[in-house]
Amino acid sequence: MTMFAPTRTSFDLPPSVSTNVASYDWMYNFIWWFSMIFWVVITVVMVYWAFKYKRKAGDKRIPTGHYPVLETAWTVLPVFFIIWLFHAGFTDYLKNAMAADDAMEVRVTGQKWLWTFTYPNGRSEPNHLTVPVGKQVKFIISAQDVLHSFYLPEARIKKDAVPGMYTMLSFTPTVLGDTPVYCAEYCGAPEGNAAPALEGAPLGGHSAMMAWVHVVPQADFDKMMAEGPKRPDGLTEAQWGSKLYKDNACMTCHSVDGSKATGPTWKGMFGQPVALNGSLSGGMDSAVVDENYVRESILKPNAKVVAGFSPVMPPYTLSDKQIDALIAYMKTLK
């Protein structure tokens, strides 16, 4: 995939990729300069007077003066300033809190430690979202397990992903290329330093919960939607399964080398009987890990829970072809 980053135009703000950024950045820069001038003036005056009125022999102890006009001015005048600032920030904020009726709706689901994007046609993909340039996107956001926060720094937008609730955010991308998504609400870390779901992302669960939004021309987007998810060229079925295992962050909980983790290891699991936690599995004490078992465990993970593990896996929305590929991969893990 092409990874070209939009260009940076300011020292302390990321590059801009969407329509709202110009006025957000204007606000930021305005407050920045206001603050800088205020801070410098306060500091210079304070230091200047501290030296000018340094205590000398024969300390005069002049009582503090009264300056009612000055005192009223610095109490009242800021009121007008903050009313204006509040209003300006509020109007800008609304731009991304609402979406037009014809915006493209994308479902965003956060879970430990990946993002899943679902397009209007039901197709879903982990950690990669492709959107057409120039079209408004409406994100409908929720979480599977704990709080996460969907953060697009280059679009200056952020919204928490909350279990049991939908939150919403919109933006209109203007620049072709790839822009990062971070998780901004603390969500924990896996045991050890498991590799992140997204290649090149930082380590550590919460900090590893990175995704990419790919902004492409409308024609490319239409072509991609028409084709549907398919096995990448040059990969076998099992290799595709191995890639899905990484992309969907299965490896944060399931090892393939027999080591212990949050979920059972996949090594040698397929085709063998496993002991179940009967009270969590509808009274069943054991099952054989076959195609149906794997399929159910992906779509409805807590229907059967292997003994010794907690029912903590969230359901995954994978297509039949993707599940087939994962099964093919599991079969290779002898």
Partner: protein
């Protein structure tokens, strides 16, 4: 012009000396003996309780500071530097809990406030000495819970304990939450004690219009402690109930609401921010008055601005939740209300700086901390504008910008104010002087290190670096490294300062009664003060900042 404080300073001559001697030699105690360790652990004297709090707070500060250095060391390079991700999460959680609940909240009111508040009022003690001692032991009990949860390992929720994470992660959370719950009661009891003391125990001549501004700050703080802390207690109890009884009030799968927890939590924790900063401001008033030899300009406005902050503090909690999924309407209201905070904060800064005009400034070490406070608190306040403004907050929320912002208020403000207060009242408490040159070297190191640490975090945050990240993309490395180096310079400054104070304890020169030539009431009695604070009940004939009315004898060192 006669003496403004009619009780002669206790040291003056034999006939006025307190027959009981200084509080370091004598005390009231729960136990029969007043000597040695029992005279301390069972003491009912507010001064000794204040000193015990100070020792506890400084010990916790050392712990919290080491934890901060571990966090900064881990972030020095991307990937693993010294610890894995889970350990990192526990370390930053502990850093937050220790610094907020064990250090900053009790630092000024419970440690320094306990010591000087009754003396400033001309009272013999606080209104309820036994309650005062009880509050200290409740604090210790809370700290024991917190330390126990550390030993048990792995509270990794962040100091905010957000659900549902905190209800699904491991069990040590309960001990930690119980610790915070318990320390909350200590805070409430201190608040009640101070409020009654200020209302009922002011010496003759100590009118409301003459209250030292430190007392006004303590008053505002006490009101917040009493009204806000119970909400924290309720919230934490609900969290424990959620974990142990599975009641589901914050669990969406049972019809609960995780965002509700945030409302409860910030309903306490925003006022808590002011419980932390208002006392810092209160100290700065005393420092500026003493070291510029005059009253703070706009005394009434400054006093009332503390109360205004206390009131506003209850109305703005939702600004921590602009991205949480609360309604756009709520965001709008909370943004508007939050801006109001700028007014009383601005009033204080303007008045402090204006006080210097045509004054008589001494640049002694405590005053340097007051200057640093103004310099840094202004940064903290101004960066608050970015966060109150809805549009800019959305980008900066939960990034290092916020981390830097609240450290500028909590550390650059409160901790610097607190350390300034420790320098200022050190001779009063110990009867010893410290080495002024060492104090200044330590100050400049701490000042430079501190600002390096957090200015670079503002830039990182604006660039999009989220907080509570164990690892980061290479583009952020330079800022993390600058920040880590700053943190170690700050630590060096603090270690030199600690050494200086220890040396003062061992071999410091004896302090005169009034080493800073202050007109403040607490400097008009002996140093260190006698058990009863003043030899006879004092009558205050002038305000604490009326330098033009104070006699040369009162202002003299000895």
């Amino acid at each position: 012009m006669g003496a403004a404080v009619t009780t002669a300073p206790g040291h003056h001559d034999g006939e006025h000396a307190d027959p009981a001697g200084s509080y370091l030699e004598n005390t009231h105690s729960l136990f029969k003996t007043h000597k040695g360790v029992l005279g301390w652990v069972g003491t009912l004297d507010h001064k000794r309780i204040g000193v015990m709090y100070l020792v506890a707070v400084l010990t916790a500060f050392l712990l919290g500071g080491v934890l901060a250095l571990l966090v900064r060391a881990e972030l020095f390079t991307p990937g693993r530097t010294i610890m894995d991700a889970k350990t990192y999460n526990q370390i930053f959680t502990l850093h937050g809990v220790v610094m907020v609940f064990l250090v900053i909240i009790p630092s000024v009111p419970a440690a320094l406030g306990n010591f000087v508040l009754p003396i400033m009022l001309g009272a013999r003690d606080v209104a309820f000495p036994k309650l005062n001692l009880a509050s200290f032991y409740i604090y210790v009990l809370g700290a024991v819970f917190a330390v126990y949860s550390m030993i048990k390992g792995s509270v990794d929720t962040g100091w905010t304990f957000y659900t549902p994470y905190s209800t699904t992660t491991n069990q040590a959370v309960i001990a930690m939450v119980l610790g915070a719950f318990t320390m909350g009661f200590s805070s409430i009891l201190t608040g009640v004690n101070f409020l009654v003391t200020i209302h009922k125990m002011r010496a003759q001549g100590q009118s409301w219009g003459r209250l030292p501004l430190f007392i006004w700050g303590m008053y505002a703080t006490a009101v917040m402690q009493i009204l806000a802390t119970p909400v924290l207690a309720i919230t934490l109890l609900l969290l424990i109930a959620e974990r142990t009884l599975d009641i589901g009030i914050f669990d969406p799968h049972k019809g609960g609401d995780p965002v509700l927890f945030q409302h409860f939590f910030w309903f306490y924790s925003h006022p808590a921010v002011y419980i932390m900063i208002v006392p810092g401001m209160a100290i700065v008033n005393e420092l500026i008055a003493t070291f510029s030899h005059r009253s703070i300009m706009g005394y009434k406005a400054v006093a009332m601005s503390s109360l205004a902050l206390a009131l506003l503090g209850f109305l703005v909690w939702g600004h921590h939740m602009f991205t949480s999924g609360q309604s756009e309407f709520a965001n709008t209201i909370f943004s508007a209300l939050t801006f109001l905070v700028a007014i009383p904060s601005g009033v204080k800064i303007f008045n402090w700086v204006a006080t210097l005009y045509k004054s008589s400034v001494s640049m002694a070490s405590p005053m340097l901390y007051a200057f640093a406070f103004i310099f840094q608190f202004t940064v903290g306040g101004l960066t608050g504008l970015f966060l109150a403004t809805l549009a800019t907050d959305i980008h900066l929320h939960d990034t290092y910008f916020v981390v830097a912002h609240f450290h500028y208020v909590m550390v650059g403000g409160t901790i610097f104010g607190f350390i300034g207060g420790v320098h200022y009242w050190w001779p009063k408490m110990t009867g010893k002087l410290y080495n002024e040159t060492t104090a200044k070297v330590a100050f400049w190191l701490a000042f430079a290190g501190y600002n390096t640490t957090f200015l670079s975090q503002f830039v990182m945050g604006s660039r999009g670096m989220p907080r509570r990240y164990y690892d980061y993309l290479p583009e952020f490395q330079i800022f993390h490294q600058v920040s880590t180096i700053g943190a170690f310079v700050l630590a060096l400054g603090l270690f030199i300062m600690a050494g200086m104070f220890l040396k003062s304890l061992r071999s410091g020169a004896k302090s005169p009664r009034n080493p800073w030539n202050s007109a403040g009431y607490e400097w008009q009695t002996a140093t260190p003060p006698p058990l009863s604070n003043f030899v006879e009940p004092p009558v205050f004939a002038r305000g604490p900042y009326d330098y033009h009315l104070a006699s040369d004898e009162e202002l003299a060192s000895d």
